[in-house]
Symmetry: D2
Subunit: 343 residues, 4 copies
């Protein structure tokens, strides 16, 4: 039995832990062979692969990133993409493929399995925690810890100086990182893409916080938008050297708006890629390791077209299609809980 | 409406986050009054209490420990305990009691509610994660992160020197911390109380690791026992100045046994109370905050005799009795997963 | 003997450690009384003060910020400022003043001592490490650790993706934080205020790094300027809602310039106030504690008009005037050392 | 020009940073060749070496341990040791040797240089900070940070429970780690090898701390000894399975003594090798990098028989012999400063 592996999409702490668990379990218990494809779907598309054995995965558990590299290449959009992949898999004598990725990468796996009979098992990966078929994905806990630690540090200044402190965190379409880190860090305002915000309301929370003699901390997801946002951000977007709207500027933009409306000085922290780098948290390593072990179990059982998923404390298997069916966003009720701590 | 709060048992990162969430939500949304009882059940027993308002809970979210203090006092074992508690609750005009604690503390709450009609809502707390009615308890993730970081650091030495490195972690009756931190840290042996270990097998793993030119890291829960442990530990216990068996010595004992059987030098790290101190992880603050919000919701609904619990990503309510019904230990199947990485 | 204390200027991890050491030593060994003035020089100017005793300083050692508050108030610029200060000190029966602050705050202390006979002892404080009279100031090591940890995390992405990663760190006039964190973090380019940078040279380093198949990490101090900077930044400054040049935008500006010149995607991290918050590093607590102990020794010796300073591993006393004589900037030779690792 | 490198003695965070700086600077600026000897002096003794180039040192800056391995082999005690080393250096065409190590390793270098004309440059390394010729050595700051973080976490329990918390840290002959981490962590008792402690006095501090309603934290260096220690420890040593005195047990021994004398429960944390592992602190990476750059400068200048050293913020060169002349221990005056915070 020979199993191929690939990692696609943005990097995410825990990818290496999955790879290690897959190879350790597969080699030791089942004597499988492993091939690692380079750079996501580009690997099987171009036939770029190399052997993976136990020495190759030694020491990678605590390391962020992926030893296989990654890309956003979509073979379904490449001329002859499916045929080339099938030929390369056949040439490499690969019997099954373990695909580690997010919505896009797994969507390809689902179609290759359903329409072309490629034997795929999926492992969900998204730092944003926005896949609906699993309670959590690895990488998310690490990102939340990093953002929370940054908010913790800002409280010091918030206690000594009368400044508004704005922290921009990741989350283009789902506000999970903002919600969790904002709650854990004790932020005074949390803005998520799921709920368009009202600048006047934000300034109200800021002002009420100052009245209690504390400086406010505002956590904003990079994809959060004001209620009249299209107009405003088109204007902000003019600053972008590439001519397209750059959502990553919302933190700085918000700080300026709060300054001009409340008359209070505002400072911005933009965490950027710091959130997706470095060693995974213990939870993410544990989850990624278990996902790897269960992915091999699915291969052993010949249970293809499936994705491993976390349900409560258990790892289960769900149809691959489910992973890409729906974006998991922050529900209104959960955001309402967080509002308890605003202002 | 006046609500009493108490925290019982060993301290656990996240207790303060529960207290803060309860008070913030209760005061702001429901205009409840709050009374904090000192030192667990000793507070209502002795009538030692003080007002809790929003200023009192400011800034406590990131702090370990509990501003209410804690104790292991069991009022059911005190003369006239129940009567004194009921009198003090009546004197303080307390309408409902939110009890934050582990098996013992919640067991008292369950009996007071069932047998004496005291209106209690429980919040589960155990750093060992051994309560069966909830997927996770706060404090556990923090402890696992601390233990994992220690194991990470030992890998450096394990790569440069040919020594056996033994790490003793918490867990008298359940091996969750050892299992999770051992898996996350890439330990070569993990020993838990649920599975009596065979010293020869342990030494076999140690030796096979050396053969691969790496030094082994052995994670051992403080409650782990060798197969012929009763005899052995009675001997080790002789060193104890109090004359009773002291399980906390298993790490040092194991290091010496491995040294004498394999001829390899062994060094021990005993993390001790370091694991239960300091600021809670982001996950634990999030979980504790949500537990607090949902405990207040149960009070608002008049839903007494219940405990909040985590099920997947959701907080639910379960009967208080369930919390204390059964110790949640590491199942064989999960321990078998971990064995993939032994040796 | 009654001693007054105040903390002035921007907050800096370690201020509380100084206050604690001063009070502990002064009360226990010399039975001094202490008064804490609020918000820097505003305190003695407005007579805003309160008693400081041992319970008041309990638990503050590991906390960032300052329990006394801070401000940038300069009493020499206030009408009648000196007279009001002297009257308030007399009214409070303060025999000596321990002044903890940076160039501005200590400059006031120096003039009050020299020209008006106010008995002052200074403790140097600047997160930027730019005071010439001392080897190091507390707060700096903490800031460097935080910035280095952020750079560490970015390396993960730098290994998996082909992006330019720009990190903006503190340092308006001196590049010490950029230099130390850039060296410690293994940055590929470090830009400091002391050396105007050439954009073409920066892009050259970026490109050569990509040629070696790694993504470059660029650390830039907030006060760094391009060679033709006045023109360029006047343009960038147009984005500022207050109409003045906002140096804090240099990271984002640089990322855009590199993108447009090299065609490579660039992402920015702006650490902002995160660098000056949170718990002080062990070194900073040790240094701040020793500064506090030696400040009290100067008071005991009646050695006024002096500032404590670090020289090698020793704490010494230097004239207060020295502290403010000259900005300590990164020397050419040291920057040349760092260039070894560029590109 | 071909330069050999070796690392000897116990591992210490920062060794890899020295190696990287030496090779980067030497190759890029001087076009030197490099050879890395394996496992300290065992490498040149047995002729075990391999080429070191820039790709070989990539990514090692943040990693603890040493890519060259280490040992305590002393070639002066090996039959024909000096001759074999000289032959191997000649065979490898090594023109100069950069020796990174502590007292023992550098002592060999000093003798090889003085008596046998081997061209050596030394780089000081000791986690214990006990080399007299340099203000600080790398590794020390990392160890102090780790120990301080552990003490920080214990404060949480110290506030909630009435227990004595004993932390054993490294330091067999010098108490620098105990002193710095104890001061930075706010310990209530600090015991160092330089000052024999009186158990009654220790128990007095413990009791007085309890009287103030806080639990005491006792930091003890592994080499600390009670006043009547020879007798006591001979007894404790009986527990040792190897039959020799095991100083690493002082923490557990002390906890038991305090328990039996004060009647208060005591718990022990033994950090062990955790203190010398993991990623170096920013300061240690900066110091190690600069030591590496200056070692190459000494080679370039033909300035052999010298060791690089830190003096204030500057790196200087001192005679190799100085490094091993005298153990740098904690002076009485410094220990007296720390006593301010006891009890």
């Amino acid at each position: 039995m020979r199993v191929g592996l690939l990692t696609g999409g943005g990097d995410c702490p825990g990818l290496n832990a999955v790879i290690r668990a897959v190879v350790r379990k597969g080699v030791q218990d089942h004597a499988y062979d492993f091939i690692g494809y380079r750079d996501g779907w580009r690997g099987p598309l171009q036939g770029s692969a190399s052997r993976l054995d136990i020495p190759a995965v030694r020491g990678i558990l605590p390391r962020g990133g992926t030893i296989l590299g990654s890309s956003r290449t979509n073979p379904l959009k490449e001329p002859d993409g499916v045929r080339r992949i099938r030929e390369n898999l056949a040439k490499d004598e690969v019997d099954a493929l373990i695909v580690i990725g997010g919505e896009d990468t797994l969507g390809v796996a689902a179609r290759l399995h359903e329409e072309h009979g490629v034997r795929c098992v999926g492992v969900p990966k998204t730092i944003d925690n926005d896949l609906s078929a699993t309670d959590y994905t690895f990488g998310f806990d690490t990102a939340v810890n990093i953002a929370t630690e940054a908010i913790d540090r800002l409280h010091t200044t918030a206690e000594s100086h009368m400044r508004v402190l704005v922290v921009e965190v990741m989350g283009r379409h789902a506000g999970w990182i903002a919600l969790h880190s904002g709650l854990a860090g004790g932020a005074n305002v949390i803005l998520v893409p799921e709920q368009r915000f009202d600048l006047d309301e934000v300034c109200g929370w800021v002002t009420s916080r100052f009245r209690a003699s504390y400086a406010p901390i505002v956590v904003v997801a990079e994809g959060a938008m004001p209620k009249d946002g299209d107009l405003v951000l088109k204007d902000a977007a003019a600053h972008d050297s590439f001519g397209h709207v750059r959502l990553s500027g919302v933190g700085e933009w918000l700080a300026k708006e709060i300054e001009s409306r409340t008359g209070k000085e505002a400072r911005t922290t933009v965490l950027g890629h710091v959130q997706r780098g470095g060693t995974p948290s213990a939870f993410d390593r544990w989850l990624a390791t278990r996902f790897g072990l269960h992915a091999i179990a699915a291969v052993r059982d010949g249970d293809y077209g499936r994705m491993v998923a976390l349900r409560g404390p258990d790892v289960v298997r769900v149809p691959l299609g489910e992973a890409t069916a729906r974006l998991k966003t922050v529900p209104d009720a959960l955001y309402a809980e967080a509002r308890t701590f605003f202002g």
